[in-house]
């Protein structure tokens, strides 16, 4: 299988595949004419990479999974190194979620305060009866 077919079957692009090869993540055999040649095993590896990336893993973080599969294990996460990456990623996600939740709370607090300040101002200086002017 050539690069275009593999890319299409995995739902990615030829550009991404060349990039993965450049990183040594998914090296390709070569046909006599120089074209990259892939097999079904490469498709499996590539799907592993894409699945992990969709879950927020960086390319380097997918490497243990890919090497685990290449070593003949049934799943990419059948190796201790992959489990460690899982654990690190979980901690990282938890940390990130927590920071975002804090930021969310700060912004929500500021937003509500600002809205109250605006409404207070409108009530004190403007037309208080406006509550009923629109149906």
């Amino acid at each position: 299988m050539r690069i275009g077919e593999l890319a299409e079957r995995a739902g990615t692009t030829t550009r991404a595949l060349r990039y993965y090869e450049q990183l040594g993540l998914l090296p390709a055999r070569r046909a006599v004419n120089g074209y990259r040649a892939y097999d079904e095993g490469d498709l499996r590896l590539l799907r592993e990479i894409r699945t992990l990336r969709d879950a927020g893993f960086g390319l380097e973080e997918t490497r243990p999974f890919v090497e685990c599969l290449r070593a003949g294990h049934p799943e990419g996460d059948s190796c201790p190194a992959s489990l460690e990456v899982y654990e690190r990623k979980l901690a990282e996600l938890d940390d990130c979620i927590e920071r975002l939740r804090e930021a969310r709370a700060r912004v929500a607090g500021q937003f509500e305060r600002a809205v109250r300040a605006r409404d207070d101002l409108a009530a004190s200086e403007g037309s208080p009866q406006c509550e009923l002017t629109e149906e």
Copy 2:
């Protein structure tokens, strides 16, 4: 006040201040020798920028707040444009948090599945009495 003092008082760097000026976010007066000259008002603006950035706002998103302050309003969020940015950011944060939570759940599920697979394998082929070999 010159750039170094302002940077230090706001807890940022001179490089960031020059960058903000380049964006037109925090323009500086100039002393006769060409040095940037700032006052307490600029410190206020800069603190607004830093606070918003710490809460996850991009620099362009801080612009309405800064312009609101410069227009003479008591707070950066005393203007409708700032409130709109708050609302957009809240929606963005909610969306981001939700996506991270989903990713977290997927990773946790995979992790637990992989750990179970490992333990099952160890129990079936290895030494089952290992549960008690370490104190």
